[in-house]
């Protein structure tokens, strides 16, 4: 399994629909301070079912929706889709490609989808369970968090080991 593509629209600073294609190997994302690089990492964490507002650096769930600028109006919804290659059947479902989608409206209403079929958030959590891609795991290391693995008290270090167990 690997990440083929991510489509972001209306999520944080990505007002317009933006698509990042990936291959196996190493992809680097570069750019000036504040340009939107960590927002891409937040988009991936969010579509995988992240429910903690704090770890998305916002104060409310609506903070992920593009809030407008001096020349642009705010938008009504944020949507992110993650397209994963499933040819080695890491996910126990019978598709070559798995598309996970999450959408949230300003009204607070949320939509979750797997391969364009609507589902519950719980289904998305279950999809990623046991792949090591869990939200508490080590598959997303946020900005400034790398040394936290060391500096927390020894009992706080367990979660990364449990995820790997």
């Amino acid at each position: 399994m690997f990440l083929k593509r991510i489509e972001i629209q209306g999520f944080k600073s990505f007002a317009d629909k933006t698509v990042l294609e990936f291959e196996q190997g190493v992809t680097s994302i570069v750019g000036p301070n504040g340009s939107g690089k960590s927002n891409i990492a937040d988009a991936i964490r969010w579509v995988m079912g992240e429910m903690s507002i704090k770890s998305l650096r916002g104060a409310s769930m609506q903070d992920v929706i593009f809030a407008g600028t001096q020349t642009r109006k705010p938008v009504n919804f944020a949507e992110v889709s993650l397209v994963l290659d499933n040819s080695n059947k890491t996910f126990p479902i019978d598709f070559e490609e798995v598309i996970v989608t999450r959408r949230v409206f300003r009204s607070g209403e949320s939509v979750y989808m797997i391969n364009r079929a609507s589902c519950r958030l719980k289904d998305i959590h279950e999809l990623f369970m046991d792949t090591g891609l869990g939200r508490d795991g080590y598959s997303i290391i946020g900005q400034g968090n790398v040394s936290q693995i060391l500096s927390t008290k020894s009992e706080d270090r367990r979660s990364i080991f449990e995820e790997a167990a």
């Binding site: 291959e23 994302i29 991936i44 400034g144």
Partner: protein, 159 residues
């Protein structure tokens, strides 16, 4: 449950010892349980000896050394239980230029198991990637994506 955790833990410990001496070019890294009798709740201690230095408390190490030790632990865990992809957001920020290149070339050892997406400002890390995306805000407050080639980097960083 207990047996499974302690099996995995000793595998990660063995892998940490290997990764540590590869990344640092020597020295020793070791993980152990603070309360070995209480496997399911015990805290995890990290003991490290840099090449040529004495054994010391992890707090005495420098900012860059701590980042690098944490990176070694991450790689050790990825070796034992790889994840399909891994997003790293500026984990190279505290490293000096030599350690950035060590980290960047070490990443390439894991490509058969894990896909990496790395956010960075450091040139050594950019040079180790096969795809390069630039994110800019030509229109203030709105992020746009550019597909870059490593040669563009000099210009891109300048504007």
């Amino acid at each position: 449950m207990e047996e499974h955790f302690s099996n995995q833990f000793s595998k990660i410990n063995k892998s940490f010892a290997e990764v540590f001496s590869e990344l640092f070019g020597g020295g020793r890294g070791r993980l152990y349980l603070s309360e070995p009798d209480n496997i399911l709740e015990s805290g995890i201690e990290i003991e490290v000896q840099m090449p040529g230095k004495g054994l010391q408390n992890i707090d005495l190490y420098s900012g860059g050394e701590k980042s690098f030790i944490a990176i070694a632990l991450l790689f050790a865990i990825l070796k034992v239980k790889p994840t399909p992809f891994c997003i790293l957001d500026e984990i190279d920020a505290a490293l000096d230029d030599v350690n950035v290149s060590r980290f960047a070339s070490y990443l390439r050892n894991y490509l058969s198991m894990t896909q990496f997406i790395v956010i960075t400002h450091r040139r050594g890390t950019m040079e180790a990637s096969n795809i390069l995306y630039g994110v800019t805000m030509q229109e203030k407050g709105v992020s746009k994506l550019l597909s870059l080639h490593i040669d563009d980097i000099k210009d891109e960083m300048a504007n």
